[in-house]
């Protein structure tokens, strides 16, 4: 009764979200086999073949014995292996799933097995089976929920390929129902713990050996992240209420304050021990409080890290004192904790600078992880916070009372496991022997439509797959045709059947069938959007047997691959047993006319040299878009050239290079030999075929191939010889509108035309232009030489209201003034003109003759309406010392002096020393010189 009520509440909740979804949920009780769902709507694949797909995916042959003639036609999917299933699946899940399979997981390919005649009997059978399964214990990963992993998990789920078969998730990570042809995941939080889901995602074939769920994730870390993301919905609902309570205080402290004496500025709930709840960076403190539950008593290590100080109390007792002002410091302590509920309190404060807090727990059987993963707000104190989301979670069908294993029931369940028919499909070992099936249906070829499993309402012993009419019709058609089919499928049918059952069509097109569906297309993304669809969509597999070397194909299918680093969707591992049978048929079916062997007049070494020449920048320039042995290309970073012969068959390579379009319609790969003609008559006798072969031979050396010309980005050092070299470009330290000048005297400067100042002066080498001149030219290039002096940021000249006023900062280009021009003198030296407050300023730097190297900067200011209180800021520094002959030393780095100027003002401003020179006009003109030496 309670369950029903809650279930209704859930329905109401869903209805409130989207009324359409309720129908979707109801309609998708039928087993979802993605290939069937997708192709039964169209005509690309005939219905009988789709019927065969269902016979395999629903594992019909485990009850209905195939005959020798039907065996090869059906690719039966092994149901999950149930050894140690009690460690993988939450025990509470079994009973409800067995009793109400289609309600608990709509779309499941597991049928509702017949559990008895009366409701009571059914209940009892389900319960006994549940206890038997729960008894199958084993080790499982003790990883907990880590909110910091959710973002990575979300990205992986959305981009690496999960959503090619599964539905996407909404903001709260809840499965979006009824996304076309998606394998439903159901309420994973009821079934898995974070640890057990991590285990499964890391190696799905261990439990589901038939490869329908391929191994997509790289390692445990990724699997854990995806598990955290998928199980976030449970946590997210908790998050909306929070797993911790917090109080926020403001004040200035050097040790953790006594919270009891303070009044909180803000209170709320938090999902983690995280200082992000603070309302500002510095001078505040936070107190967290929550509860966590331990499954067993024992020694637990707590790790408390913070910047600045923090403390942790368990059950009111201070455990770690990490107090005081300090950078992020972790203190660990091991304590004995009893089984059950514990209250945790953490306090943290920040005086200034960085602010951080980490609280972690660890034990012998619990890897180190955030404590918040097992925290919750105490129900008693959190009353009134029951949210809609909470109801939804609590009400999800299949959450019974806490589970307690009953050995007697488990023994009963063991007998039922075979008699009910579980053993027909599921593998379960007992004393290293698989429990044999005892249920037997009629032979496959003797099945009649509309009876047994295929009847309107399967009765008696028949399992109920919840098949819909379309599915039944397809199965009936397949059964009808089976008798007359040849005993083993031809290669083409075998490929197609495998592509259907492994759902290769979700990502790949082959012979105009399949490829990403419109609803999923946008989830395929690339790190290089400029490559277009080629950079993001998995390649079409039309003719793939003619394209790829069998060894490579085998490796790709078995192990997955990442030859396209820019493509975020991954080719997952399918496992040798599930895909090896594809290699020979693909090789047989996909053929192209062979290209006859080529006789070179040149020696093998010469052929390779010619191939190298062709690939390089002096000929075809393949390296402009393709990486070479992981060295970057100039433009986009297409597939690595040195991987080509390892992957590609020679005949295919010959044909493809001649005309790429028929093989990859829409490819951006240009035809290097348009109309079959070469541009290079002098290479390999001007023969197109020989040139293509030459490239193949050259690239066949793989990583040992010597790099082609144009690959390395050699420096382009600009060396001023007789006259200065000007370099307007992006210069680090001088902005996007920099004007670099290198002088033959081996001193250099960079003028920033945005802020109208000489931004840097340096000695020795001028600049390396390779960054901007070798490829597309992105980013900022620093000076090449030595003793780089950065002159003060901000305007060179400014009017101040008084001598006390701070020097203005430049917030926009317009505010700095107007850049007018530069003119060059007879020696090619530029003189910069810019305008500030109606004053035209000429700034003419020239190298000085002194032996260290320096600049003399001649300023001429002209104005018809000279402003009062205009200053030149000659220098800014922490330490400015006056020396003899008018020289000032700035921070021990460089010296300057002023010639023809009014007496400078030395002042403190913004915590620094500044030298200001008052500008006084005579007849509208002011001239002065600033000399630099360093």
């Amino acid at each position: 009764m309670r369950k029903n009520f809650l279930f209704l509440a859930l329905c109401f909740f869903i209805t409130a979200v989207n009324p359409a979804q309720i129908f979707a949920a109801d309609a998708s009780k039928r087993p979802i086999v993605p290939g069937f769902e997708r192709f039964s709507q169209g005509k690309e694949i005939d219905q009988a073949q789709l019927g065969l797909l269902l016979l395999g995916e629903l594992n019909c042959t485990s009850c209905h014995a195939p005959t020798a003639t039907t065996k090869g036609l059906i690719q039966a999917k092994q149901a999950p292996l149930l050894d140690k299933v009690g460690a993988r699946i939450k025990p509470e899940y079994f009973e409800s799933f067995i009793a109400k399979t289609h309600e608990v997981k709509p779309g499941s390919t597991m049928p509702q097995v017949s559990l008895g005649n009366t409701e009571q009997e059914k209940q009892a059978t389900a319960k006994a089976l549940a206890h038997y399964l729960a008894q199958q214990a084993g080790a499982t990963e003790k990883l907990l929920f880590d909110p910091k992993q959710v973002a990575l998990g979300k990205t992986l789920f959305a981009q690496s390929g999960c959503v090619s078969c599964h539905a996407g998730r909404d903001q709260a990570a809840k499965e979006i129902l009824n996304v076309n042809n998606s394998v439903p995941l159901g309420a994973l939080e009821n079934k898995y713990t974070v640890g057990s889901l991590t285990n499964f995602l890391e190696n799905p074939h261990q439990v589901r050996p038939s490869g329908r769920m391929p191994a997509l994730l790289k390692d445990k870390k990724e699997a854990h992240a995806v598990a955290c993301y998928l199980l976030q919905s449970a946590k997210a609902s908790a998050k909306s209420a929070g797993v911790l309570k917090f109080e926020y205080f403001e004040g200035s402290w050097t040790t953790l304050p006594d919270f009891t004496k303070l009044k909180a500025i803000a209170k709320g709930t938090a999902s983690d021990f995280d200082v992000e709840v603070a309302q500002k960076m510095n001078n505040n403190a936070i107190r967290f409080e929550g509860w966590f539950k331990l499954q067993s008593a024992g020694k637990y290590t707590l790790h408390l890290g913070s910047d600045d100080g923090s403390k942790i109390w368990i059950d009111g007792k201070l455990i770690i004192d990490n107090d005081g002002v300090h950078p992020h410091t972790v203190i660990s302590k091991t304590v004995e904790l009893y089984k059950g509920e514990h209250k945790v309190e953490v306090g943290v404060f920040d005086g200034g600078g960085d602010y951080s807090l980490t609280v972690e727990i660890e034990s012998n059987n619990l890897p180190r992880q955030p404590l918040s993963g097992i925290c919750s707000i105490d129900e008693k104190t959190a009353e009134g916070t029951t949210t809609v989301a909470n109801v939804a979670i609590a009400a999800a069908p299949g959450i019974p009372e806490p589970f307690k294993l009953d050995a007697a029931l488990a023994t009963k369940g063991r007998a039922l496991f075979a008699s009910v028919g579980c053993a027909n499909c599921h593998g379960m070992n007992e004393n290293n022997k698989r429990i044999p099936a005892v249920v037997q249906g009629p032979e496959l070829l003797k099945l009649r439509p509309e009876t047994g499993c295929l009847s309107e309402n399967p009765q008696g012993k028949s399992p109920d797959f919840a098949l819909d009419a379309k599915q039944k019709a397809a199965i009936a058609l397949a059964l009808k045709n089976l008798a007359s089919m040849p005993p083993s499928p031809d290669s083409k049918a075998l490929i197609n059947q495998t592509f259907l059952s492994l759902n290769c069509y979700a990502c790949h097109q082959r012979d105009k069938i399949g490829g990403p569906e419109d609803s999923r297309n946008a989830s395929f993304v690339s790190t290089q959007p400029e490559m277009g669809d080629e950079g993001r969509l998995p390649p079409a597999l039309t003719g793939v047997g003619a394209k790829l070397n069998p060894d490579w194909l085998k490796q790709v299918l078995e192990q997955g691959t990442k030859v396209r680093p820019y493509m975020l969707a991954r080719m997952p591992k399918y496992g040798a047993a599930n895909v090896n049978h594809l290699i020979k048929p693909l090789d047989e079916v996909d053929i192209i006319t062979p290209v006859e062997a080529i006789q070179f007049a040149d020696t093998p070494a010469k052929v390779k040299t010619s191939g190298r020449l062709l690939v390089g920048s002096k000929a075809l320039g393949c390296i402009k878009c393709h990486t070479f042995n992981n060295q970057k290309a100039e433009g986009i970073q297409a597939l690595d050239l040195t991987s080509m012969p390892q992957r590609l068959k020679r005949d295919w390579f010959q044909r493809y290079m001649l005309d790429p379009q028929p093989f990859r319609p829409g490819t951006r790969m240009p035809a290097p030999w348009p109309m079959g003609k070469t541009f290079f008559d002098e290479i390999l006798e001007g023969s197109t075929k020989k040139q293509i072969e030459g490239i193949y031979v050259y690239l066949s050396q793989g990583s040992k191939a010597s790099p082609p010309e144009g690959l390395s980005r050699e420096a382009i050092v600009l060396v001023p010889d007789k006259e200065p070299i000007i370099y307007r470009n992006f210069i680090e330290g001088a902005g996007a509108r920099a004007i670099g000048v290198g002088y033959p005297e081996k001193v250099n400067l960079a003028f920033d035309a945005n802020s109208l100042r000489v931004a840097m002066i340096w000695q020795g080498a001028f600049i390396d232009a390779a960054r901007h001149w070798r490829d597309r030219g992105v980013g900022y290039q620093p000076p090449l030489g030595d003793n780089i002096i950065s002159l003060p940021a901000g305007p060179t000249f400014a009017t101040l209201a008084s001598e006390k006023e701070n020097w203005p900062a430049i917030t926009s280009k317009e505010q700095a003034g107007t850049f007018i021009s530069y003119t060059t003198d007879a020696l090619g030296r530029p003189s910069f003109q810019y305008k500030y407050a109606d004053v035209m300023i000429t700034d003419f730097p020239t190298p000085t003759k002194n032996k260290e190297g320096g600049f003399s900067r001649a300023f001429t200011l002209e104005s018809k309406t000279p402003p009062a209180l205009l200053y030149l800021r000659a220098a800014v520094g922490t330490k400015i010392e006056e020396q003899k002959e008018g020289w000032f030393m700035v921070d021990g780095e460089y010296k300057f002096r002023l010639v023809g100027a009014k007496k400078p003002i030395v002042r403190e401003s913004n915590g620094k020393k500044e030298i200001l020179v008052p500008i006084v006009f005579e007849n509208g003109v002011c001239k002065l010189v600033q000399e630099y030496s360093w």
């Binding site: 946008a522 044909r655 307007r728 070798r774």
Partner: protein, 496 residues
Amino acid sequence: MKNTLLLSSLFTGLILASFSKAADPIPTEDDYYKIVKFEIPKDVVLEAGSIELTADNKLYVSSRRGEIWSIDNPFAKDLAKDAKWTRYAHGLHEVLGLASKDGWIYATQRGELTKLKDSNGDGKADIFQTVSDAWEINGDYHEYAFGSKFDKDGNVWIVLCLTGSFNSNSKYRGWCVRVNADGTFTPTCSGIRSPGSIGFNAAGDCFYTDNQGPWNGTSSLKHLLPGSFQGHPDGNKWFDLKEAKLAGPKPETPKSGSRMMIEAERIPQLMPPAIYFPYKKMGQSASGIDYDKSEGKFGPFQNQLFVADQTNSTVMRVHLEKVHGRYQGACFPFRKGFGSGNVPIMASKNGHLFVGGTNRGWGSHGNKPFALERLDWTGKVPFEIHEMRAKNDGFELTFTHPVDPKTAADVASYKMSTYCYIYQSAYGSPEVDFTYPKITSAVVAPDNKSVRIVIDKPVAGHIHDLTVAGVRSKDGLPLLHPEAYYTLNYIPEKAK
């Protein structure tokens, strides 16, 4: 099996092509238009960004490395001997626009329009004066700026490429702006993505080329009508700036996944491309623009536009007409085989076309890293489709030579398909919505210079991809280029 067939037919095609070349003197492009190479001085890296011809017949060529070279005697027969090279300026920031006025050279750099002058007559510029720097740059390589020649009002038109070719992260990125010689700055059109060049047609209207990418299914030629929106919405954020008000009201954001003409119906400022260059078929990176101003000295294509392609190292030909008040028309292959990746082109009044190239960062069929070439007309008129004009029920084709009326009246001499592109925020688009109109009649005009073809039926918003393989000239020659691609944004009303 299918693959095998396809390939064998491909190979047969190749064999036939080479066979006919050997056995039959069918003229090639080279018989009509010759490519003459400039000999670039040793050690000069002239990755051509723009070309200008001044009144004193000096050719100025700017480079991506920031130099400007002046070349005396650019029309010389023997360029190696007679062309004289002088480095006019250096140190500029990737100059992709050159214009001249009143003794000044105007150079569009990434960050500003600058005017340069050689005040002491030593052949080298010594004044570098900023005319306008009212747009922004941020260090991203894609933030190119292409500048035009002067229009009749004394403006240089500048198209500003987006940041990274996807977004507008700096002021006026994704805009066309006008800068007057007096420095006046006028934001003019939004919606630009990644331009390849900018130029005028004979009527003085301004066009630019944009390239395949987000909101651009393929490369195209677009008319920069002031106030128009050219299709990529990211730069529209700058409508909030005061001076941008001059470009009119901010357009609505187009719906991704739609079609250009559906959105153009809804968004009045949206200017559909005048010409689509079907990807691969015509080129991959449309660039330089100029029109034939030679009054016959460059052959029969007076006032038509030439548009270069960087990837394919080609120059294409464009005939435009106005339908429903907007430009649309056809593009045709014209000349291939240039040395590098063509970027700037410049047509002279005395009948030459200067072509500059670079393939740094973007590969090209022409394998030279950079090139400067001149295309000269040999005086022979190729047999080409001269113009292709839309009619209510089909097209009118005119030819450069009288046609053989028998082959020209045969509907089997023509083959047509139509398609368009998805107008979307994702990169590029496949050709979609194919139709295969039937040619129902082909009527040859009494002077044998034009043919009216009626098709069932034209599709508005589609490229009409026509191959005229069967038509022969009265001398029995096939068309030098049988392909034509008409961008039929609008179908004209029935003639009264």
